[in-house]
Structure formats: C-alpha cells, structure tokens
Amino acid sequence: MKQKLYSDIDAAIADVPDGARMMFGGFGGAGFPNNLIQALARKGTKEIFAISNNCGTRDGELGILFKLNRIRHIIASFPGPHSNHFQERLAAKEVTIELVPQGILCERMRAAAAGLLGFYTAVGVGTEVAAGKEERVIDGNRCILEMPIHADFAFIKAEKADELGNLTYHLAAQNFNPIMAMAAKTTIVEVEEIVPVGSIDPESVMTPAIFVHRIVQAKGIRYAG
C-alpha cells in the first residue's frame, strides 16, 4: 500500500507544477500550512492559480508567494489589511483577483468536493459579485448560479494525523482546511503531530483519511505574518 507519510517536506511538494490550481487553508493567522508554503517558495513553482480566504500577511502565509511574484490569479474573500505584497502586485497588474463572499467560497469548494455542478444562492444578488453570472428567480427569490471551484492541490494544516491520513484540528484552526481537503485532487497536510493508526477515536476524526494524500510533520513556522 502506498505510504502517505513523507519525511521530507520538499519531496512532498516536488511535483507541484507551474500553473497549478492550489487551495491554501487558514484564517485569522490560524491553520495556515506555513511550512508547505515556504517549501513551495523554495521550489519556485510559478504562475499559480490560488484559492484562499486571504492574500497573505506581510511576508507570512501567502505573502511570500506574492513577494516572489509566483501567483498569477487568486480567488479570495478577504485579502486582508496586511496583504501588502498582494496589493502591490495587483496595482502592477501582475496578479488578478476574483473576490467571492466567504461562505460562497466555502460552498463552491464543497460543491466540487461533493460532485455537484453548480448551485443557486441569493448571496451577492444585486452586488458586484453577480456580474456575469446567470440570474433567475426561484420561488420568488432572486438568485445567481455559482459554480464549483476545483483544485489540483490543497495545502492544509491540521493538529494530528495518523499514518493513514485521518486528521484532527485544534480549536478554531480548522476553518477552511477540512473543506479544501475534500475539494482538491491531491491534499497535502502539515501536522503538529503524527500518531499511530488507531490512536484517533473514529468518532473524533474530523477529516477522514480518504481525503488526505500526503502527510508531513510541520517543522519551523506555526504562525507567520
């Protein structure tokens, strides 16, 4: 059986090609896969199509990738007050952004995960985010059609993994991570702790192993930016 455990973080991300569609977990400083992002920066993958709630915090989180000009387009909900590298690239027209309501960002990724082909929502009707989207009325409610967001890779952060890939998250650090784990073709997780198979109670597993493809021990940065 193929092992999911990688001892070398650079090996775990070695096949992420230029132009990859990539999801990055994290919110409010918590649950960011900072060590995976740093490895990606070292590797030099460029022309990335990114999906993330925000756009980096100074040099931290996705900041380093904008600083190095590795991201070409991003789908995000809230770039954030310290996304200065992103804002500079945006002003220089080196990156484009699709701004999405935060819950709709979650649902579009979940739709991809769940094999749904689109959904109707009232969120965003009459606002800038409705531009270019199909609009209709269902049961008297104006709504727009939102499409799934898929990805080649998700970089996520969890607290514990067993060697099969079952995950748990710490406090509010799960945020986008469980959703992205389900939505990407290949999910790579960095964890605080790797535990033996059988040591996570089946009722306590937050992301089942089926969604997790590669596991690395987080070493170095926990919070960045």
Partner: protein, 224 residues
C-alpha cells in the same frame, strides 16, 4: 447642522446591545458592533458566532492567556463560554446563510430606505477591497442591525434613498442604530423609533437622505 452632542461609538454599541433577545445566536461585525459584547444587559445570555467556526465565543483573551488557534474573525485571541463548539467555515456560513442566527450586527457605510446595505468597499479606495463574510451574513440572517454614524465626516447622510456605494446585499437591514437615532426598515418605509438625547425628529430627518416616518415626538434613545 445643530452643534449638539451625538452618541459615542461605545454608546451606539450600548444601544444596539438592547436589540439582542435573551438566548439569541449573534454575529458581530467589524467596527462598532465588535464593542457590543461589553454592553450586554444583566440577565441576558447571548451566544456569539464567529464565521471561522466558533459558537459561544467569550471575552477577549488576557495577556498570557492567548491561544492563537482560538481567534475571532478579526484575528483577536478570544475565550469560550461553557457549551461552546467548533466547526468548519462551510458550516459556519451554513449558519449565516441558512437563517440560523437570530441577529447579526454589522457596520455600514450606507443603508437605503429599502434596507439595502453597503458596507464593504468605499468607491475609489485603492486596493482590492474585501468582502469577507458580510454578504453571506447580510443575506441570510433573520434580523440585521446596522451600527454606524448617522452622517459621514463631511456631514453627508449615510441613510439614503439609494446606496451609491458598492452593495453588500439588497433589502437585508432590519434596524439601524446611529449616533442620532434608532431607525427601523419596514415595508412602508423607514420608521424613526428613537432619537438621541437633545435631538428632535425634525433635526434627525434633516441629516437623513430618505424620508423617516414618525408619529409625534419619538422617545429618547435608551441605553439600558
């Protein structure tokens, strides 16, 4: 413009706190709403929701007590109350969009007489702007209270006939609490429910960009 005292931001928050029913599940937005948790009346229990996946947020964490995996939507370390729970961001917004929260209190740049809300982007501001959870919350929550100053720094009304700022949502606002008044959005137009101490309904109307309906003199804004 009358040169009379207006409510402080803290007083707006204090007044808005009275809109929260006992037992309510509540989301507080950036700005003035974030001050509300300091002003809950005695005997009222509410459960604070955060869109990063917390129900039952308590007070801010004290120095030395912080866990940076336990932060609110503004990235501030917080604590929990007994009976709190964690969940992922999709479930957090299932709660907002699905109408499960009782009240959301949001900041605002403009509110129209139909209850349209603009609160995420100032026209002409540089940079990308950011939506965050505001559109989901405004769209789905049963009662949306907006806290804001009654006018801009330049004295322009923020309660208007039609919003000119980029919209957050259509017909989503229930009540507006400002430094001058409490205004309800109703099917027949805006209703001036209360006015700030020393202010008259007519004076408040002069600083409002849409028609306010009121009978006789509305009562003074209560803070407790």
């Amino acid at each position: 413009m009358p040169d009379k005292p207006r409510l402080t931001r803290e007083q707006i928050a204090q007044r808005a706190a009275l809109e929260l029913p006992d037992g309510a599940y509540v989301n507080l937005g950036w700005g003035i709403p974030n001050l509300i948790s300091d002003y809950l009346p005695a005997g009222i229990t509410v459960f604070f929701h955060s869109e990063n996946g917390i129900l039952g947020m308590g007070r801010r964490a004290r120095a030395g007590e912080e866990d940076f995996d336990l932060v609110d939507a503004m990235k501030v370390p917080v604590t929990l109350v007994p009976g709190a729970s964690f969940f992922n961001q999709a479930d957090a917004h299932l709660m907002t969009r699905g109408g499960h929260l009782d009240v959301a209190v949001l900041g605002g740049f403009q509110v129209s007489e139909k209850g349209d809300l603009a609160n995420w982007k100032i026209p002409g501001a540089k940079g990308s702007g950011g939506i965050g959870g505001a559109m989901d919350i405004a769209s789905g929550t049963k009662t949306v209270v907006v806290c804001m100053e009654h006018t801009t720094r330049d004295g322009a009304p923020k309660i208007v006939r039609e919003c000119t700022y980029p919209l957050t949502g259509l017909r989503c606002v229930t009540t507006i609490v400002t430094d001058l008044a409490v205004v309800d959005v109703t099917p027949t137009g805006l209703v001036l429910r209360e006015v700030a101490p020393q202010w008259t309904a007519t004076e408040v109307q002069q600083l409002t960009g849409a028609k306010l309906n009121f009978a006789d003199a509305p009562p003074e804004m209560r803070l407790k």
